[in-house]
Subunit: 246 residues, 2 copies
């Protein structure tokens, strides 16, 4: 065990922040942790937009479906899949980029964005700051692209609030690790029982916290995934130039 593992093993999302700013030196370290994350074929196909401006954060909170912590936390970092930079690299060689026309192009970019997002969160936690990832910006990615002046071939895939925690959250329990780790080959054995046990465990967790509207996992996931969760993503990725044609 070490400090780094402890930091990741204690991950939780916080949604309550004080007004204390995040220092520029801390922010620089957090950004550098993401910058040093690996990317597919050394493409460096990720960018960050760091938002401190309160009006812009208020607008992002609104786009994200009314998430007050986006306006409250002093820093919001938008994580962008960026094939504009690579396209410019190709252009400098007189070559036209094709990979953004493919599902592979989007998948590779989103994966690299996920690595960067994870590093941002781990780095912030290691400095004693709180975080909450915000997928809600995918409710209206084109509005985010406009607000942050993203060029074509850039897609705002997620964001993260960073700040000093006011009322700390508790880490939620998870589905049994046997449903996460599979050795040599995937196995669904025990999945249904693990889901039932987790539903009960999560309800006990909500009750212990006095949270009356807490749902079992299967119910909350059903509420989200019985439809397409964010409906504008396909149109937005295509409009940004990721055509999914190939």
């Amino acid at each position: 065990m070490n400090q780094t593992l402890e930091t990741m093993l204690q991950h939780k999302s916080d949604r309550s922040y004080t007004s204390q700013p995040v220092g520029e030196a801390q922010l620089d370290l957090i950004v550098r942790a993401a910058y040093q994350g690996p990317t597919s074929i050394n493409s460096q196909q990720v960018s960050l937009v760091v938002v401190r401006d309160p009006a812009r954060r208020a607008r992002l909170a609104e786009i994200a479906g009314g998430q007050p912590w986006v306006a409250q936390a002093p820093v919001f970092i938008c994580v962008v899949v960026d094939l504009h930079k690579t396209a410019q690299g190709l252009k400098s060689r007189g070559v036209e980029q094709q990979t953004h026309l493919s599902v592979e192009g989007l998948v590779a970019g989103v994966l690299d964005a996920g690595i960067a997002l994870g590093n941002l969160m781990t780095a912030a936690h290691s400095l004693g700051l709180g975080v909450v990832p915000i997928g809600g910006i995918r409710r209206d990615p084109l509005a985010v692209a406009e607000l942050l002046k993203l060029p074509k071939l850039c897609f705002p895939v997620n964001g993260v609030c960073i700040g000093h925690v006011d009322k700390p959250a508790l880490a939620k329990p998870r589905l049994a690790i046997s449903t996460f780790r599979h050795d040599e080959a995937y196995s669904s054995a025990g999945l249904d029982a693990a889901i039932a046990a987790y539903d009960a465990e999560l309800m006990a967790f909500w009750q212990a916290q006095g949270r009356a509207n807490g749902q079992p996992w299967s119910e909350s996931v059903a509420g989200a995934y019985k439809q397409v969760y964010y409906t504008q993503v396909k149109e937005a990725v295509i409009r940004q130039g990721f055509t999914l044609e190939r």
Copy 2:
């Protein structure tokens, strides 16, 4: 600065491993670091397949286009976008899952997989082990799915080799951080100059290492991205049930 930040700031990919095994206690900590990563709407839509079996690693090395380090490193972890578990959760409520029919469903899953992949790498580094992420399994995702017995709604998006490093690699320089961090809004100002400067810096890096076949960044990215990089991804995601229809 702290140990966690140092670990991430020193990231590099190693492609040379000794035969020394990775202990089960270490592997357990590495897996748990990924397990504790956040997921969209607490969906827990990621799974890992841990591969130690040499024959299976040899097959994965082959699928990945002949990457000997996949066969050499004692552990390979395949990172899987897993909407099978959520679908089973919905089923337990008598509800049918829809989100996997959408681009959003794939994007959210791949992003969460990226967070898990980043955590695996940071955790392994913190224990003094080396890693190299393997996007090459997307050369033939259906072969990987068959080898690892993945059910429908599971997509093998990446993998990572973990082991004790034999001949350590050097971290490559990167494009200027000004092309990565944008404040308040995205800016392309200075991008072309940054690419030209980076091309020169990377060539100097290759020359200092005596690597005769090293290319400037724009040339290597052009070689990869002037076509669709992995051509079978679209068919494979659709065959696994992520139809991209909505």
